[in-house]
């Protein structure tokens, strides 16, 4: 059984029990143990990198140090956390000068970055530790009649040289994981384009226009739902639909489900245990389609 330090971040505990519950329950079912360590802080994602990059690297490195002390690799559910932690981990492992610079800062907090642990995204744990074959065998409720639009967002894939999750221009990891559950992964225009999430709060009009394009393209492709892997993308597309309705006067009604939620349903977990009421665009239609197909 593999064990990981779970880096929960902030948006998930603040707003998305649906993501946390489905990730915890599905990994438990698949025999992956999650350990909740004390004293993690903000991961320092792009908004903090925008304020001071050196601070972001130092705080991200501090968080990795906690996993190193516990002798555990880390797993993140949020792509913002993944970008910050995996990027910092690779940069500090590869660049001695930078590592020394950051370690001088960490000394103040009694830490030293050693660089002997991995930072993985939830999807990587499924592929590397469980494996698609065992995952397929664990499916008790195949999603046979579901068409899902794989939505990568940005920070699971890019900067690819540092994150190493998949090919940044032609990734397959999420499509493969979707199809392993029995669902169909539908292709749509501009699949790898940004959700606009990071412009929310600074330029809402641009953010909503970017999200609108994603929704229009996935709807046109005939998707039953969008499958996400990041809480920011989820907000941009789910809550975003209510804002697009009121501000841009366009209605989509496209359910957005985290991959972990589709996975949990396919593993036979009771939908009532997944806090699906968190969704602004109700997922009931997709869930009943899945339950009916048994």
């Amino acid at each position: 059984m593999s064990s990981y330090a779970l880096f929960l971040g902030c948006t998930i505990p603040a707003r998305q029990p649906n993501y946390e519950l489905s990730a915890r329950k599905s990994l438990a079912k698949l025999g992956v143990e999650l350990v909740d360590l004390a004293n993690f802080t903000c991961c320092c994602p792009p908004p903090v990198q925008s304020i001071d990059l050196e601070t972001s690297l130092a705080v991200a490195a501090y968080n990795i140090c906690l996993a190193e002390e516990a002798d555990l690799d880390m797993v993140t559910l949020c792509s913002g956390c993944f970008e910050s932690l995996a990027m910092t981990n690779t940069m500090l492992k590869n660049d001695e000068e930078l590592r020394a610079r950051i370690n001088r800062i960490l000394t103040e907090a009694g830490k030293e970055f050693a660089g002997n642990k991995e930072v993985k995204h939830f999807l990587q744990v499924l592929v590397d530790d469980v494996g698609l074959k065992r995952l397929k065998q664990s499916v008790t409720r195949p999603l046979n009649n579901i068409k899902a639009a794989a939505f990568y967002g940005c920070h699971a894939l890019r900067p690819s040289e540092l994150l190493k999750l998949d090919d940044p221009e032609r990734p397959r990891i999420l499509e493969n994981l979707i199809e392993t559950l029995g669902a169909k992964s539908v292709e749509y225009r501009n699949k790898l384009k940004c959700c606009g999430g990071l412009l929310r709060g600074f330029s809402d009009d641009l953010a909503l226009n970017l999200a609108k394009e994603k929704l229009a393209n996935t709807a046109k492709a005939g998707a039953d739902c969008i499958a996400t892997l990041c809480p920011f993308c989820f907000i941009a597309l789910d809550l975003g639909q209510l804002q697009i309705r009121s501000k841009l006067n366009e209605t989509f009604n496209m359910p957005v489900l985290h991959y972990s939620e589709l996975l949990s349903l396919a593993l036979g977990i009771d939908p009532k245990e997944l806090a699906l009421e968190t969704h602004k665009i109700k997922a009931d239609g997709v869930v009943s389609k899945i339950l009916r197909s048994r």
């Binding site: 993690f40 890019r158 970017l210």
Partner: protein
């Protein structure tokens, strides 16, 4: 030293800004940019050009650098390996040091210093965790964080920002 050289030295000496001088203005970044596709207010090639020409005030006081959505498409595709998204972070870092900071980033900075997270978890949401079947939240490492923020100068930067 001329104005152009002086500002590009400032940018290249900052984390993230090191590669800016390799830009030869081909425009691959602009044609890969999802924001540039829907507005004329942001164009990564233009931001880099103005920076290399030493138009510091226009770059750091303007809105453009804050309109990058940090998607890294441009950075992936740049034939000169200019780390464009990181250059934008460096420009934002410089802007902030000089007192230009959008409200939302100000809020992120205070939230980080005060709560250790940029999105706060309310007491109400935290109290619902057991009913949902979620384990209690672990404590945040505020003590260590405060030391790190003070060592990097973030605390000072933020205090200055709050005063202005």
């Amino acid at each position: 030293m001329n104005q152009a050289k002086a500002f590009s030295n400032v940018v290249t000496s900052r984390l993230g800004g090191e590669t800016i001088t390799a830009c030869y203005q081909c425009g691959t970044c602009a044609s890969s940019c999802p924001v540039a596709k829907i507005t004329e207010r942001f164009n990564p090639r233009e931001v880099i050009k103005l920076s290399l020409l030493g138009e510091k005030d226009e770059v750091i006081a303007g809105d453009a650098i804050w309109l990058c959505c940090s998607c890294y498409n441009c950075q992936e595709r740049c034939p000169q390996k200019v780390e464009i998204a990181d250059v934008i972070y460096a420009l934002r870092n410089i802007a902030l040091k000089e007192g230009y900071i959008p409200n939302i980033y100000s809020e992120f900075a205070s939230a980080l210093s005060n709560d250790g997270r940029i999105v706060g978890v309310s007491k109400f949401v935290e109290s619902k965790r057991p009913t949902l079947g979620l384990p209690p939240l672990q404590p945040t490492g505020m003590e260590a964080l405060k030391k790190i923020l003070s060592a990097t100068g973030f605390t000072k930067l933020q205090k200055k920002e709050e005063k202005s």
